[in-house]
Symmetry: C2
Subunit: 116 residues, 2 copies
């Protein structure tokens, strides 16, 4: 199997803490210590999550040895959006079917109405 | 941790075979045998993938014991689309920055042009 980037991205997103980290980084770059704070997690635990996000290309880290700020990289999320977009008509279709059904119900009411 | 549906969905999508199964089901409902065919996989291997997709609510299966056709259920994909949509401005922003840079380069060329 060739390198499968989309699977790596999906696997990285399959964790609520990692998605929460991305959400925090959407507000601007942060250090590991800043990221660890709200999660009440040890630095090594956060570092492990960051490594998964970094491997998936979802974050980038500064080069400074002491202070390596993390920054969101949204490019892999664009691939996710493109992939999921192919299925949009399926969920919109189910919504349309519901709307048709409701219209049908209303139509039924009108038929019973003696003053159209 | 409460039941985390989005993580279950992302984990189910983190496999190229499972995404290929969804793609085939987008063409209409299919039996396990029909789904197994193009993948050169054993039926138990395909069944295992189907169980993951079913647990994530991405497919539904008929009730007939012998012939349980699989059908795509796109509702969890709508959640994925909604989630990823929050990050759209990040990748569009990077594209805008590139477009600005290219415009700047072209502007530079024009400044050197003696006949504006």
């Amino acid at each position: 199997m060739a390198f499968d980037h989309l699977s790596t991205t999906f696997a990285a997103l399959a964790d609520p803490t990692r998605r929460a980290i991305l959400e925090r980084l959407a507000g601007g770059e942060k250090t590991v210590t800043e990221l660890a704070e709200p999660f009440q997690m040890s630095l090594p635990a956060v570092s492990k999550h960051l490594k998964v996000l970094e491997r998936a290309g979802l974050i980038e880290r500064g080069r400074e040895a002491q202070w390596r700020p993390c920054r969101l990289n949204a490019a892999p999320l664009k691939e996710v959006a493109n992939w999921v977009e192919h299925y949009r008509h399926f969920w919109e279709e189910s919504f349309d079917r519901l709307a048709d059904y409701l219209k049908e119900l209303q139509g039924g009411d009108k038929e019973r109405d003696p003053n159209p």
